[in-house]
Amino acid sequence: MIWSIAWKNVWRNKKRSLVVIIAVTLGIIAGVLLIGIMEGWVKQRLKDAVYNEVSHIQIHNNEYIKNEEIGLTVRNLKNITQSIDSLKELSGWVKRTKLIAMANTPWANTGVILYGVDPEKERKITEICNRIVKNGGQYLNAQRPGDILISDKTAETLKLKQFIITGSTIETLKEENVPVAILTKLEGLKDRRFRSPKDFREALKKEFSKKELDRFGLLITDKALDYRIRNKIQIAISDKEGTPIQGIFRVCGIYKTTNTGFDQISVFVNADELAKLYGGDEILTHEIAILLNDIDDAGIVKEKLSSVSGDNSVRTWKELAPDAAMMNDFIIMYYFIFIGIIMLALAFGIINTMLMAILERTRELGMLMAIGMNRRRIFKMIMLETIFLTVVGAVAGIFSGWAITETLRNTGIHFTGWGEGFEAIGFAAKVYPVVTLEFFVFTVIMVITTAIISSIWPARKALKLNPVEALRTE
């Protein structure tokens, strides 16, 4: 019956209890969503770091790490590759040539890391092949000599990314139901070539109002975007003697990952084409990238390979992408901080509400003590009231938070305004929140613990009541 009384007492002052319940619900939703977004970012960053950038393990010549010279290739390649092939944890691996280079177009130049890869094998190890942008050509093909794959960012730097309003652009926008007034204004920009997004944005700002830009700016920019596919890029590298050598490649495709930092320096060509440029008898291997079936095996595999690596360095993804590793390791700490703050606020709300409830029911509590309800039962009743009050809000919060997160997990949240900033530090502008079962269990435990701890003060206050004095209370 004490359970029943405690439950009924929760609803004695409906308005006050609902305020607390709603506060708990909103707090939990905020917590779930916030953690979901963070977890989504961390998982996404980790996935992108592993599948676009560093794989699970990389092997380099020890000296190459300090000084990225063309001659510092992986030592004992045959032994190492045999050891890699014998790994039971192995999903796949690739050899890469990796050179510091200068990329030039008639309009700009930039320093890049030039990867010589086997496109077919690379497809199995990285997901760059799936990151080709819309109207951005295609991935490298071993059958097409002289191709180079560059990123959207490199294209922008080398002025190979342009914005141009043509007659066909206007027709396409018309099909997208863009109002005639907007299309008329676009006529003023027709056939003008803008080689940077900033210049194009400035030009649009002059023609359109803020409201028009908010509504149609992204669509116009998207349709006006044009990559100069098949344009030539001159690549300059140094041979083993330090003599500069140049080669011409044609842009076959444009890729874009979520890490602008990686994108702006990474360009890819066929390894055999690159070998022709530096004039070696064989393809040089500066980097071996290994993908495992399970990311958790990286440490064990590193140990295995280190024993046969000799003068080579074997590094796991944690060493190669320390930012992703740190985020992954510290996510639990973030959980505690965020949930801790929410629980602290929750505890104050609960304590305040329960103290009020006890103050209002002083005489009733005195009566209960007088007729023979012992302290243990009174303590239990107050605790149960507090727990019920909190758990109702927590259940509502967890279900709502789960429903919202599940919806957003499919649609994603696009931080349009901050996209460039996020991508500059390696995080996707579009995040897909992820909340694990462990997090829900953890939250439920935290909420119940908070409720129990918060109930101690009000319950002790109730126990300290003197029945005679309590019965005199008006």
Binding site: I5, R363, M367, M369, I371, G372, M373, R375
Partner: protein
């Protein structure tokens, strides 16, 4: 047979400025099935005496013995359990639990005593019928009149089959008709269940129906009048 005995009981309240001798050397005993009223002007010590008898407060000196148990010798937790099993309380302001129905309010005390469900149900309905509320068992206190609430309180006090019932000004908040109905019910239960009723009261109607009248003044018993065979001595 004595159910309750007070031996030289004193209660002194020490505040910072004045010392109040609320109960002054009271010695009394009550026998089974008495229907006694404690009367006296405001501040005469009626409620304090009832609180001492009920074990809600402890005497400064003297002994209170209920069925051979000296209340002063009991620990706080034992005292609560003793109250639960031996004493029924009826308060001036009814003090029902507002979230429970009349039935649940009566049943509550039996739940604390861990009565089996069936017996609990039967006794609750029997008691509510006895106080004339057989048709209001599922009503919450807010839906009952003051008189009806006080009758539920009487049923609750009787629920655990106590040795005696202490009622602090039970009719003070009731109109004449409700007060008379309540007193008649209490007298009937006193007669049928052989339970001792001790009231503190100002109400002349209660005084009129009481079999024994104990008058207090300044914490002292100044008279103890017996009106029937339940003889008693000061």
């Amino acid at each position: 047979m004595k159910v309750l005995e007070l031996k030289n009981v004193n209660k002194i309240y020490n505040s910072t400025e004045i010392m109040v001798h609320a109960v002054n050397d009271v010695s009394l005993y009550f026998e089974e099935a008495e229907f006694a009223a404690i009367v006296g002007p405001s501040g005469s010590g009626k409620t304090t005496l009832l609180n001492l008898i009920g074990g809600l407060d402890m005497p400064t000196s003297g002994e209170i013995i209920i069925n051979s148990t000296n209340l002063s010798k009991l620990k706080s937790s034992q005292l609560i359990d003793f109250r639960l099993r031996n004493i029924g309380f009826v308060f001036q302001s009814y003090n029902l639990i507002p979230v429970l129905t009349a039935k649940e309010n009566v049943e509550f005390i039996m739940t604390l005593q861990k009565w089996p469900l069936k017996e609990r149900d039967e006794r609750t309905i029997e008691l509510l019928k006895a106080v004339g509320l057989g048709n209001r068992i599922n009503s919450k206190p807010a839906k009952l009149s003051g008189g009806q609430q006080q009758r539920v309180a009487v049923a609750r006090a009787l629920a655990s089959k106590p040795k005696f019932i202490l009622a602090d000004e039970p009719t003070a908040n009731l109109d004449s008709k409700a007060a008379m109905t309540l007193l008649e019910i209490m007298e009937k239960l006193n007669h049928e269940e052989k339970i001792t009723f001790i009231f503190s009261t100002h109400d002349s109607r209660v005084v009129k129906m009481a079999h024994r009248i104990i008058t207090l003044e300044d914490g002292k018993v100044i008279s103890d009048e017996n009106r029937n065979s339940h003889a008693n001595k000061n």
